[in-house]
Symmetry: C2
Subunit: 243 residues, 2 copies
Amino acid sequence: MTEPTHSNELAWLQEQLRLGMSGGRFPAGSWLRQDALAEQYGVSRFVVRGALERLAELESIEHVPNRGYRVRHWSLEERHELTEARLVIEQAMVPLMMARKTPAGMAEARRALHDFERAAESLDGEALAMTNHAFHRALADLTENAALARQVNWLREQGLRGAGPGWPKAGGVARSLAEHREMLAALERNDPIALQGAIQRHLTAWQERQATTAAGTRPSEGGACHRKNGANPVSPRTPPEMI
Amino acid sequence: MTEPTHSNELAWLQEQLRLGMSGGRFPAGSWLRQDALAEQYGVSRFVVRGALERLAELESIEHVPNRGYRVRHWSLEERHELTEARLVIEQAMVPLMMARKTPAGMAEARRALHDFERAAESLDGEALAMTNHAFHRALADLTENAALARQVNWLREQGLRGAGPGWPKAGGVARSLAEHREMLAALERNDPIALQGAIQRHLTAWQERQATTAAGTRPSEGGACHRKNGANPVSPRTPPEMI
DNA sequence: CCCTTGCAGATTGGCGCCAATTATATATGA
DNA sequence: TCATATATAATTGGCGCCAATCTGCAAGGG
């Protein structure tokens, strides 16, 4: 019998927390209490600590000694840096993608796009986050370079953190879907310039929107720590809106 | 009194292990036994486990259930991928570096180059690894983009893993030093094309050398696991020679 | 009435223990 | 003599416990 071993439980919990953060269950700035997680996910506190330690290494969460782990908050400046980094790397990846794309890889990308279309109809935050990641992951895989794909995937994951609950708003999803279609079309007709342009627009769209809605988003630093805060203290910040 | 807290000990040990792997004390494929590390570095096994868990998340080491953690071995193909990823990203970073370099940043780069020169004289593997990283880190910092720098730093760190003991060989260090000088000079006279060329040569030099020394480097997979293996079972593999 | 101080509850930090698993050494038989 | 089975030692895996530390509340003093 393959009893669920530690490593499995740890990796599983880590994935759950990752999804929870992407989907909005754990907003940026919220504390991840070890006891609560252990009980909620039915694992021991030992496993919880391991998963938190690993997530801290990825800088998805931050560790404050003697206070615990909390979902990392990315400042506006840091998000601009993340966007710029994605822009630089993804633009540079385009020639590789064009040169190495295979029929199988393109089929996978089309399938991912279709999944995103269906998620866009349901307007479910978690599903949107997952299928959006899957689509971009499929595109990155076209380079046939796992190291490169890993880097850009990490950048996207960090930048999108916390965008979940505020995503299905306005025409954001529709516009994002249109841009995804545009990127795939550029790939299919071997047009690297068009693909780079589409990527540029896709990644920087949130900045224009951010500029219109003015600034002033005090992220309620510190705040309540211990004491049961209802497990889901959804902070009323303005959503990041990164894609 | 600031008694060394857990978080400090953990981060310190992680850095020690990182240096040990870069410097050649822990060759690729060697097992990191928890008891030995706890005694050697004077910390508890709890701290050791935390550090190993974090390093495993970075893919510097791999975790084999019920057998332990061992320094990750990168295949020739994977190292080609790492090199290609660095090539793509660092080339794309050049315009940013040119546009944003500050006098302070350039001074830091010059200082790092000087440190590498001194380490090159001593031919000490660990010192070479450290100063080499510091130089490239200084260059990456010229982009003023922490996210971008982090990505390329990780790629370099992975690719250089295990190159330590086999580094001070032949004219490798002298050539590397000359290329570092070339890169800095290109930066100082605002010549992006020359910088890109220097980076290209710097990153791909090991491949030419690899091609001449033929192939066939069975990394002695598996191998002895438990039982005290002298703490330093330096495997007689051919050194990677990445820069 | 407000500020300071002390107390209690809650959470994290660190460690030791023992079971589970694996590798090595030994014994046994063909 | 070699292959196989068994016993033993070494190592990792997981967990519970208790101390250290922080937060929030209440009591007391100015």
